[in-house]
């Protein structure tokens, strides 16, 4: 059940361009990414391959991004797969498969080229199979200390390079939700299943669906706020397992700590609200009744699971808690106020701000305004040509359409066509209060439902 892709790191929408002098890569072959990987693994020269998802063509490459005279380039038609051993800057087991480009010993001595026999003569000569190239650290004799090399110092024949094991190279803070190291085996030594594969284990953690969880290749990750990084295993009999990774000594200071309100998803909320909206007291985090759970305070040291306070240890939409009501397991604490996140300037506007001619040119989120005369990133429907009397100068905030919510502008953020500005209404500004009922209103094409479709019918 091991996929040949397990030996590769995938770079999406990326192409590896070689200098024109290099020999053209091996011809194209047809197949799925896994079939291409199988070809590449069995080829002595292949170190990477392009896979064109549309044409299902693949191009085997004898180089990687660390080879000389090559460069990575965006190309939406290709995914680039490179052998991990050539990319990783850490070793697995004794590092016999290490093919990185480290060329200095742990004491900082430069390595002698394997091709050379001076200053030190030796019998480890390069061959297509043994990976001895240039003067890179290697472990041709399975030395327990890991990759080593002969040194250019006549007095030091050879020395270990001190390359760290992958489980030590990148340590884990808190529960490892932001661990992005390259450990790809579980604590029992089973190899991990790739996150972008659904075999041998089907799972919900598609990398596309969780772009912020770093679900790359088959590396250990923690997308669901478990106690520590884990992965699905390539053993059909064992769905998932934790990985053994060094814990960082230093605990990071929690950022965005708030107490009277919560920001974003409230992962930094450290206030003392401990009751749900429905008035049900929260269950203490250090008890397992009435609801059993795995959010044991000592296992989540960075989440401040104190008492029975609302918290967000798992990246949910908002702070939440287990409730003391036996039939209601969890409740959000949306009733905690959100912290205001808007910028504001000392300037203010009267009425709707239709006569505001100030020089503020930022939205309330701090995004720079697009010049009114510009056509990008947004093609304006309102411009100095269409509204000559509205003083649409530069990229200053204005209210050419008498928007009742004040001065606004097109924004330089391609995703946000327009937004209101960081200007507040002047206090006492005479915005007409709500108009009493206007004359009879009518509606078309909306608000009608088939009253017969009541529940009974269902």
């Amino acid at each position: 059940h091991r996929s040949p892709l397990n030996d590769f790191e995938r770079l999406r929408a990326t192409e590896l361009l070689a200098a024109p002098t290099d020999p053209l890569p091996v011809l194209l072959e047809w197949g799925s990414a896994e079939q291409c990987a199988q070809h590449c693994v069995t080829s002595l020269t292949c170190r990477a391959f392009h896979h064109n998802r549309q044409s299902q063509l693949c191009q085997l490459l004898p180089w990687t991004q660390h080879s000389p005279h090559v460069q990575l380039q965006k190309n939406i038609h290709y995914d680039l797969y490179q052998k991990k051993d050539y990319l990783r800057d850490c070793i697995v087991a004794d590092g016999s498969s290490y093919r990185g480009t480290r060329a200095t010993t742990e004491k900082g001595l430069r390595c002698q080229h394997w091709q050379a026999t001076t200053p030190h003569d030796h019998r480890f000569l390069p061959s297509p199979r043994n990976g001895l190239e240039e003067n890179y650290c290697r472990n041709p004799d399975r030395d327990k200390q890991g990759p080593w090399c002969y040194t250019i110092d006549p007095n030091v024949r050879h020395q270990t390079c001190g390359i760290k094991k992958c489980e030590d190279a990148v340590c884990v803070t808190c529960n490892g939700e932001d661990y992005r190291g390259t450990v790809d085996h579980t604590e029992s030594g089973t190899e991990c299943q790739r996150w972008d594969l659904q075999h041998p284990h089907k799972h919900p953690f598609h990398p596309d669906k969780y772009p912020d969880k770093g679900l790359d290749n088959n590396y250990c990750r923690n997308p669901d706020s478990s106690e520590r990084p884990w992965c699905y295993t390539t053993d059909p009999g064992r769905e998932r397992e934790y990985c053994r990774i060094r814990i960082c000594k230093k605990r990071p200071r929690p950022h965005n700590v708030t107490t009277g309100c919560f920001r974003g998803k409230g992962e930094g909320y450290r206030g003392r609200v401990n009751i749900t909206v429905s008035g049900i007291p929260c269950q203490r985090w250090d008890t397992q009744s009435p609801h059993q759970h795995h959010f044991v305070p000592e296992k989540y040291p960075c989440k401040d699971l104190q008492e029975n306070y609302c918290r967000n240890p798992d990246g949910s939409e908002a702070p939440w808690c287990f409730t003391t009501h036996p039939t209601i397991r969890i409740a959000f604490c949306f009733h905690i106020r959100r912290c205001p996140e808007e910028l504001s300037t000392p300037e203010c506007y009267h009425s709707h701000g239709e006569h505001y001619h100030g020089h503020i040119s930022k939205t309330r989120k701090g995004i720079t305004c697009q010049p009114w005369a510009a056509q990008a990133p947004h093609v304006p429907q309102i411009s100095p040509l269409t509204h000559p009397e509205a003083h649409l100068e530069e990229n200053y905030c204005r209210n050419p359409d008498n928007d009742s919510h004040g001065p606004w502008c097109y924004t330089m953020d391609p995703r946000t066509p327009f937004d209101y500005c960081a200007i507040k209404p002047c206090s006492g500004s005479t915005v007409p209060s709500i108009v009493e009922n206007p004359d009879a209103v009518t509606f078309e094409q909306c608000g009608r439902r088939d009253e017969r479709l009541q529940w009974k019918g269902r």
């Binding site: 969780y210 939409e317 009742s404 995703r415 209060s433 209103v441 439902r449 479709l453």
Partner: protein, 227 residues
């Protein structure tokens, strides 16, 4: 919805996170636009990859064969004017309107719902045992006059808020209903007059319930859909 009963509200949508869990409600105001509340989302430029809305079914978690269920990914979130506590969600593709999926009307700008009008809230949220929490529940609430509500709240009512009167039986929105509609029948059409916002306690019997007054933001809503 506490104190309600199963009902049909074809413009009410369920907003679900990447894990497919319902966490808030919304209202379909255009085939590709849903209105909800800012309180349901972590930020105005939240990455909503994998978030979706579910329409066309009365079940909170319908089985695979539900005939009219539509599930559509959310493409974008746009935050409303400050204080509005509103957001608009642009769907990745238009919803298909049918007997189970319909648009709710938007009110006329600054329209005031006459006091006493009986409106309806809907949602898949907490029922506190008063109804089946696995299906869409609806409840009816009478609108309270602005000044009467302001008096009851000792002057804390904002222009951007709309009130309904407390009922002795304890009827109201709760956890999981936030963002859903307060719909009022006007000229034989259901109109989105309010959006449900989190309150400190559900279904209070001693205080009016507050909603975002949509008629104050109709110009912004049209502007977003136009732009």
């Amino acid at each position: 919805i506490v104190g309600g009963q199963p009902g049909n509200s074809p413009w009410t949508v369920s907003i679900r996170n990447r894990a497919g869990s319902h966490f808030c409600g919304g209202s379909l105001v255009k085939e590709q636009w849903v209105i909800s509340t800012r309180q349901c989302f972590s930020s105005c430029d939240a990455d909503l990859t994998g978030y979706e809305v579910q329409l066309g079914t009365l079940f909170k978690d319908p089985g695979p064969g539900d005939p009219n269920q539509q599930t559509i990914l959310i493409a974008r979130i746009v935050c409303g004017p400050s204080e509005s506590e509103l957001v608009m969600l642009k769907l990745a593709r238009p919803a298909v309107l049918n007997s189970r999926v319909a648009l709710i009307c938007l009110p006329h700008e600054r329209y005031v719902v006459p006091a006493g009008t009986v409106c309806e809230i809907a949602g898949w949220g907490e029922t506190r045992g008063t109804a089946d929490g696995n299906v869409l529940n609806v409840a009816r609430l009478p609108v309270l006059a602005h000044d009467e509500c302001n008096a009851a709240l000792r002057g804390r009512l904002k222009d951007s808020e709309l009130c309904t009167a407390p009922l002795r039986a304890g009827v109201g929105a709760c956890e999981g209903d936030y963002g859903g509609p307060l719909a009022c029948l006007t000229a034989d059409c259901w109109v989105l007059e309010g959006v449900i916002i989190p309150s400190r306690v559900c279904a209070r019997t001693d205080q009016p319930a507050l909603f975002i007054r949509v008629s104050l933001y109709v110009d912004w809503i049209h502007k977003v859909m136009k732009m």
